[in-house]
Symmetry: C5
Subunit: 297 residues, 5 copies
């Protein structure tokens, strides 16, 4: 997540440098070609590029809006994970006869591990990194056979809850109530995976780039009588704004790629760890994750 | 689902070739007619086509947005199917006294068959293709009489769960909790069928095409004094962008038509198969479905 | 529901013929008045009508979008009715000791009658037409006293389910689980009635028409030096597109008016009948409703 | 709710007469000032007001859309109240041993009173008007001490339902199922109160008016060479459309203010009364509320 | 929350004074530079700034719309808190044998404290301010160890509800039903925290400001032949409208910052206090919070 701090120019520049290079080439070529053939090439009415610019803005606005929705949905899913993780622990303490029972710690720690593991696996990193402190040896060996580690962790919790029912620690109602919480966690996991694995319809991006290039060409022809030194900055700045908006949208729409614009899943998992450990009455609580410069992962 | 790979130009070209042909004919005719009668035909102020272009963009933006919503809803429905299939198996293992009971395998396999069958039937293909390994002979003969195979599969699972209750394997609570999961699956099935069977209001498409043709005609008249060699590429590129966006939207809005832009239901069903078989503790797990060039079905 | 087939021109023409007539009168009058006083009337800059056209498009786009949402919500409500009708029958078969009990048929047939009756009553037609085969004489005489027939049908089902509980056919849980299904059906019914009885804010339509007339007048003045034979087709086609879009939106926003653009409630009720009768194991199943030319009711 | 009937011009005129007066003053002043100093004041390019007009339309479209959403949400909330009121009575009849028990009438009548009372209190009118026939003396005296009458009515129903449980008329399940219905009613009440008490961000309205005035001034300067008799009608009609749209949105966004554009809460409460009394088997049913000219309250 | 009253000009002016200063500097510089080099600098077609202005409006409209959604979601979350707090107390009175039991007061008071505490902690203020009257000494000392005070308060209520179950005051059903209410409260808390801690994608703001500055420069060049005294007010007013809209959106998107445009969480908490204390039958009820001039916190 980008923070509300000064963003380095280099970060922004790096986003669009290759596209910008293409724009400059197109602009310079179009300028020289149309200057060379200035008498042959008819004049372009200036509202052709102006209308194209408006059209690009409207399409960009659609794209930004859908990308924002994906990003915001990803954040909502992780918000739901925070809520259900907290509720899960409070439910265990409220449902089990002994609120300090060690089985609560086992289940709650596994839930913490699940949060870290889900974040890592969405980002394509090692899904067990940072979960060591929260899992038993048995758990780790059980996970080894599973491709989808977070799903296996939920299965382990479901089977442990079933033991509580078998040993009459909870009745069948509380069993189903806890099961409903697990169902919500499975839902959140699946939603995050869905956002991660669904490619935003690629053709829009293609046609948008095509439209931006066409905009540069028509604007450049329309301004052909103006010296390159005045025309080029205008071309570059206008198309930079388009390209930067498009690129920001492109990054937002995939919020689990280990990039500065990601949803801050590690920081959220840490918050969950802090909350759960305080609910368990522990004293030695870690600090929240600190940002890396202008962003928080 | 189109992947984030290079899309062949032929794929894009094939989408619009017939419309493009009409556009070229219109453009050329309008050009020659207006050149022939250049003195009679009054000049068209260039902001008439510019405004028309903006109007088309705004309407296209509405259409793209609604089509995207249908496509995204279809993906969400299949995401919910993933989640509920996983939860269903975890619930069975958590609710039945013996988590390795063969009845769990029967129910879980039928759920896998349901996923493949729903995907096939939405696409209008043979709804039982690929389900053979997961269904008993009895199941297959029972399905023969049913028009809606996936609905019949859910009915079979509901009746088997009822048996579990009758034989006291689960109590009435867990019966209703499992029933709630089946209700959600029936909901997802119905939602996908709804998207599939509801025709997007056809008149918009008609009026949009009408507006694009009018745009080409007015632009062509407005540029009548310009040589055809400069005018035609502009006409063609501008209207191609409109047509391509419209066609992409048209394809997105029907995501179960066995086309490259489809929701990748077979791949999702395979993921569910993998997840469920790992939850059952099986060793011999198939690989995820691999893409066919630039798309995944 | 309009099908994805060729729509007769007469259908489209009839939608807007009266408005079109007004437009032509306005256009011709404005043309002759401004030609007559061509020296007195100052020239209208052509971006006044162009801006008005853009403004109309933006407002139309809002209207189309809200109308589409109402239409889509209506379709979703009927999709939910499909799902809950199917689930209702599956639940009865799963909850009652005997899945072939005649009471299931009674309840399921009443549910079919409810679907047909709700569709008819939303369209303002005879709410009992086509329900005869599914209701007993007692039911019909009970309904006679009720103004809201579908609500009375749900009440009958609720009281029959209560009988099942009183005679210990189902326990209190399953009673409440079935009650939850009835609550969802009451919700769907109320949602459809809400869409049907809520008038879309009328003033927007008024102001939109006003704006379209103003557009025609300003465009006509702006083009006053052009011969009527060139000007009128442009005026007529441009305003036709606006009027057709507005009219399509107007029709979409009230999807239960017995019009070709209606939600196809009768066809959906037929689908439900087919599904339910197959779930009951019946052999003599009716065919799906066939379309009436270019639409399906 | 405005009906789909002819709306009196006076109603529309009254909405904007004060704003219109300001517009005329601004227009006339701007005209004379710019005519007086016609040589000093430079000419305004006509696409400055045209762009401003487009900008105003886009912002208006945002405002209309959010206001419409509030209005539609208000209608949805009242639709949910209809559904839950109907379900509440059907549940009581299905859950209590005797479906004609007088306690059902007491609870159902109190529910009717709640609907009328909530509508009145949202509109800032006497919250007990029209509820006399449905409440006992005890109820009325209990309500006297409460500031929030509808909340107190729900509390009374909750306590009566508890009595049913205490006297073993319903079991603990049905108690919680009825409690869930009450929770939904509390939710609907709170949602309506939220819409009613939340002021739409005021600054937008302010800036929108500012933009409309600026539009009038720039347009007036841009048309300064045109006689006032041609210019003023254009100014007035264009800004009227903006002002009327803005005012309609302003009225829609607060749908409980005892205005013609209100959600028709009294008529809805009457519908609920009719439905509930028919469900109770009563014969002497009142008629639906009839509209007051062009609107229904 | 800003009220529907006259907003002081100083409030509005202070929002944008620094940005306005930059705009004036840019405008004046651009004017003098382009006047100085009036022969060298080519003329800027006036539809370049006009198109830029439209583009800015479209992007602003996206930003306003998303900010409004965050603000409205925040209000909805607090509306849900109102509803669940009321339902919680009504449930306790309906579920416990003695509706005047002191434990209800303890739980209800803690719920009031939770509302105040959540509001304070979202705003970064002392989370226990104003909660003294509603918490026991034990509660206060328990909270001392917790970083997230509202979460700890919910935990305390959950453990007290568990006591009710242990002492057979409520059965296991009512325990789970109350637990569901607590789960919803945990959800609402988490949702508010999510809105509070998620930074709106910063890059949009940056690019929007960049576009506004570019708009000022191009407009200023396009109007270079006009005297500064006519040009500057136009520049300033046009860009003020953009800047004010942007700033309003910026403030709306973070509704828990102790600013006049905040969601009025303290006033809502007071309403909850009033409602709950009336439900408890208390006589000495505080007044609603009164506004501070033109806003309510």
């Amino acid at each position: 997540m980008l923070l509300d701090k000064r963003i380095p120019v280099s970060y922004i520049y790096n986003k669009i440098k290759s596209d910008l290079f293409i724009i400059i080439i197109i602009g310079v070529c179009a300028h020289f070609l149309s200057s060379a053939f200035v008498d042959n090439i008819p004049s372009m009415p200036s509202n052709i590029p102006a209308f194209l610019g408006t059209a690009i803005t409207v399409l960009l606005s659609f794209k930004i809006s859908q990308s924002y929705d994906r990003w915001w949905e990803a954040r909502k899913v992780w918000g739901a994970i925070v809520n259900d993780s907290r509720s899960f622990v409070i439910q265990l303490q409220s449902f089990l006869p002994n609120p300090n029972s060690p089985v609560i710690t086992t289940l709650a720690y596994r839930q913490i591990a699940w949060c870290y593991s889900l974040g890592q696996s969405l980002r394509g990193l090692d899904p067990l990194e940072g979960t060591g402190a929260f899992l038993s040896k048995n758990d780790v060996s059980h996970l080894a056979q599973h491709k989808n580690k977070p799903l296996a962790l939920i299965q382990l919790n479901a089977l442990d809850i079933k033991q509580l029912y078998t040993y009459n620690e909870i009745d069948t109602f509380k069993h189903t109530q806890l099961d409903s919480t697990l169902v919500r966690l499975v839902d959140s996991m699946g939603k995050a995976e869905r956002i991660n694995s669904t490619v935003f319809p690629k053709t829009y991006r293609l046609f948008l780039h095509l439209a931006i290039y066409l905009f540069v060409i028509t604007l450049s022809i329309s301004l052909k009588e103006i010296a390159l030194i005045y025309e080029l900055p205008l071309l570059v700045i206008l198309s930079s704004i388009f390209l930067l908006l498009e690129k920001s949208a492109y990054h937002l729409q995939d919020p689990f790629r280990n990039r500065p614009s990601d949803t801050s899943v590690t920081a959220i998992a840490r918050t969950i760890e802090i909350n759960i450990r305080q609910l368990l009455g522990e004293k030695d609580i870690p600090d929240p994750l600190s940002p890396q410069g202008f962003y928080l992962l």
